[in-house]
Symmetry: C2
Subunit: 312 residues, 2 copies
């Protein structure tokens, strides 16, 4: 298995990314190879400094960089020699099994949709985030930002995609899917959630448990929380904001520490033909290591194959 | 000034409500009278038990109760002798200057719109919630649930209403109004926030500072945060959920304690012709006392008059 990693993306590139790759190499099974995509003349000295000589690490030179300022839809055609563009070329030609980046999220989404394409039947690919649950488990929420405006059938598909992810990657048996809403009863909500509820309530594709409210996000009432990308992004960033305040206030608590993005490293883009993982722009080496471990988990679970089977 | 209070609403009625009224009486100026609306035969024994004999407290008998199970739009006509129906009758006939309840929020909204009516020019009345800011100040967010689906011009009006509230009741000079969105730059967001931004950016009606993100909700970047009622309700309940978890985990921190609803007691319904205050259903006596203090602050600020002037 070959996992590709963008070395030029994120705030602490290239160093944190290379160090994260080295850490991941130690943790991942022997048959996993890492393909580092970025500026060879920057990557090699770091590998040398760390004394890393391994047949399991290779480097593909990509001298250009898509920055956070580049326009998502234009960046890939404008910068064909960037690490993100080269990564998607390798992925599209199956030279790597997975591509992970902490760089420009918009460009990663665009690359996913235009270079590896949505799985036939999937209306809108989406991204998830982990919700740490009191007691130790995790739930997921999706979409968290890829699709600001959604139709009810798109939410229905998010429920399918999230359920497949929870089952195959998180090993949750028969994941409970909740629709994020204002009020628990059927009929509550805005026009979108009212319609989505009707579509979801008799579903055979996933285990729908009904509406859940904002207060239930972290209590484990649902394993998979479905919402439009606008709402999901607000939820995610609100949680990040509260975590950041708790940290600034010196609150030390093992539960709150689980809001630290470092623990998760990244999230797959669900619903595209190959494995694409995106990480937080502020990722340090630990976060990059965890992103590569997630990339391995996703690849070895054959999630993408299972999504294709479910949507045909 | 006469402030009406529903004694039959909320989970701990009638006792917590009567006790809250007694506490409020001690705190409010001498010229403030409280009108307790509910079952006289339940109210009088509690007043007697507490030895409260005051010309500043009167009781209006309302034997019936609108419960949380009653349908919001049907409850008021179906139960004319309920405390909420009687309260709105008193308010509509100016027998009281303000009406506060911890009962069925939907019925309170319906009563506000159909018994005292929206202020001419206000498309959709709305409700706010306090956002505790690190360092001691508070911001507000609106709408938090009265309007699940909003058009851009409705968000524009929320900005005006919130700005007037922040200025007149919270005494914030030239309140900074932010639009809750995913991304800071103009052009980010869903169709609603993209359009609302265009309406708001050149406004002379309030001090628009642009988009703010979920992570900025509690850092005081904006004094007034504007969003549709679906998003606002999710934000509010997510904060409640995290507060509840922090409490369960035994985290003691003066900042997190400010998420306790007791401190605020309630919120006015903004944009109707008379002062209506709604409180949390789980209000105890402290929360009811604070709701009545808020009712006093809103009434003495002449907020409703100022909103009418702004919208004519």
């Amino acid at each position: 298995m070959k996992l590709g990693l963008d070395i030029s993306g994120g705030d602490f590139a290239p160093r944190a990314n290379v160090l994260g790759a080295i850490l991941a190499l130690e943790q991942l099974p022997e048959d996993v190879e890492l393909v580092l995509i970025g500026r060879e003349d920057e990557i090699m000295p770091i590998l040398k400094e760390k004394g890393v000589v391994s047949e399991r690490i290779s480097v593909v030179n990509a001298p250009d960089i898509i920055t956070m300022e580049d326009h998502p839809t234009r960046a890939i055609p404008q910068k064909p020699n960037s690490s993100i563009s080269v990564g998607f070329e390798l992925l599209a030609h199956k030279k790597i099994d997975s591509f992970a980046s902490t760089g420009n999220t918009g460009a990663m989404l665009v690359g996913s949709i235009y270079k590896v394409n949505a799985i036939p039947g999937v209306i809108r690919p989406c991204i998830t985030s982990v919700l740490p649950i009191v007691g130790g488990k995790n739930s997921i929420i999706l979409d968290v930002g890829a699709n600001a405006d959604c139709k009810p059938d798109v939410l229905y598909q998010f429920a399918s995609l999230g359920s497949l992810y929870a089952k195959n990657v998180m090993n949750i048996e028969n994941p409970r899917v909740g629709l994020l809403n204002i009020g628990e009863e059927e009929g509550k909500g805005n026009l979108l959630t009212q319609s989505a509820f009707k579509l979801m309530k008799d579903s055979d594709d996933f285990n729908f448990i009904g509406n859940i409210e904002g207060r239930d996000l972290f209590n484990g009432k649902a394993d998979v929380v479905v919402c439009d990308g606008f709402t999901g992004n607000i939820v995610l960033k609100q949680a990040e904001g509260i975590y950041s305040i708790a940290k600034d206030l010196g609150i030390k608590d093992s539960y709150f520490e689980r809001f630290n993005y470092e623990n998760y490293g990244g999230t797959p883009i669900l619903g595209v033909n190959s494995d694409v993982i995106i990480g937080h722009g502020i990722s340090n080496d630990i976060a990059v290591k965890n992103m590569m471990c997630l990339a391995y988990d996703v690849a070895s679970s054959e999630l993408t194959k299972k999504i294709k089977e479910a949507f045909t």
